[in-house]
Amino acid sequence: MGPAVLSPSGPWSLAPPPAGRLSKDVPDGRLLFDADSGTTRLLSPLGVFIVELLERQRGACSTAEIVRAVHLEEPESSNHECLSAVETALAELVDARLIAARRPS
């Protein structure tokens, strides 16, 4: 059996936090420190928004649902702008191992 193919459009859910992760909220996002890797990151405010959205949902969200939620917060932005920003933030969150795309069951 080959590796699982994950949908790029989600649905997205929070990944279990690694042991020893520290975080600190700052006005321009959230600082994260992973003790295992020694890596420090500054999560963008949009990345923090998506993480908090997934925490509130207590389940998975598709990219389209996340874009809708962002658009409600930023109604002056076009859908295209929201999608582009969300895709960038999702990539950031995946890279930080904060979220993972779940295979549709």
Binding site: G20, L22, V26, P27, D28, L31, A35, G38, T40, L42
Partner: protein, 309 residues
């Protein structure tokens, strides 16, 4: 007793023999050298520093810069740095012995002082409030620092800023400022009273000269300062002085990049840096001319009626 009160003979004897024991901020160092040119330069650069009595307390760093043996005594003579009899670096031309001693001492602080967060940053203070100036080489950090400390600011450090884990206080070593290339002439003209070593040419950093810390800074060396501002300077020819606010998260990341032992300290380093950022306003600062730059930074901490730094 101060280093500057020693006669040339006493100084030379100390350097060649038991060592010159000098207090530099929170550290006590023992300098040794058999290179004749080093003594007079050390005497000028450390003139205001207090000597540590021979029977007094612990010495943190036993550092020495000595002539290489063999042929290198006469043909292209070299100098070798050692700390506690360990020689971490390759030899350099003997004409660079003084710079090697200072760079070696910086290495000691970086390599051994993990009871504090060590930032690769200059630090100056006024009225007890400190400004941290982290920046990569070539940003004009040392030039700006040298200028500030000749215009009412106190030098804590030109190169390494020491942060307590609770980030409540900063400590400096109040050692000489490392000026490079054009900065040497710039500071000689800007502050004719500045005490500069002779230039050392063809070092890995180009031509280098060391500037003695102002006497008032040395006298206040043991006084910690409260962190208040993080300023990331960048010199650009012809630029007007301009301060741009820097968000705390971005400031944190800049400091982490400039912290020498952040990765070693792990969670402790993260928390210390977080507390430091909480305590400070952060700015990016572009400048092109020293008088204008100082006026902009003076606005943070106007001198009181006594002009105390």
């Amino acid at each position: 007793m101060k280093v500057g009160e020693l006669s040339a003979r006493e100084l030379g004897q100390a350097l060649r023999g038991p060592g010159l024991r000098v207090a530099t901020g929170p550290f006590q160092c023992r300098f040794g050298s058999d290179i004749a040119a080093v003594g007079p330069e050390l005497a000028r650069l450390y003139a205001e520093h207090e000597l540590v009595a021979a029977d007094d307390s612990f010495i943190d760093f036993h550092v020495r810069v000595a002539s290489s043996g063999g042929l290198r005594r006469w043909i292209r003579p070299q100098a070798l740095f050692s700390v506690d009899a360990v020689t971490p670096f390759s030899p350099l031309p003997r004409s660079q012995a003084l710079a090697m001693l200072e760079w070696g001492l910086n290495w000691c602080v970086t390599a051994y002082c993990h009871h504090q967060l060590v930032l690769h940053a200059a630090c100056v203070a006024r009225a007890g409030r400190a400004m941290i100036l982290p920046a990569p080489p070539g940003s004009g950090k040392s030039t700006l620092t040298a200028a500030l400390v000749h215009r009412g600011w106190r030098l804590l450090s030109d190169e390494l800023t020491l942060v307590d884990y609770d980030a409540a206080h900063l400590n400096g070593t109040t050692r000489p400022v490392n000026l490079k290339n054009d900065s040497i002439g710039v500071i000689a003209r800007f502050a004719p009273e500045a005490v500069l070593s002779r230039p050392m040419h063809d070092t890995s950093k180009g031509t280098v000269a060391l500037m003695a810390p102002p006497p008032a800074s040395v006298r206040a060396a043991a006084e910690p300062a409260v962190p208040a501002w993080i300023v990331l300077p960048r010199w650009r020819a012809g630029a007007s002085a301009r301060l741009t606010p820097l968000e705390p998260g971005a400031a944190f990341m800049q400091l982490a990049e400039n912290a020498m032992n952040y990765h070693l300290l792990g969670a402790t380093g993260f928390e210390a840096l977080g507390r430091l950022v909480d305590r400070c306003e952060a700015w990016q600062f572009e400048y092109g001319e020293l008088d204008e730059a100082i006026a902009a930074l003076d606005a943070f901490a106007p001198l009181g009626p006594k002009g105390a730094a």
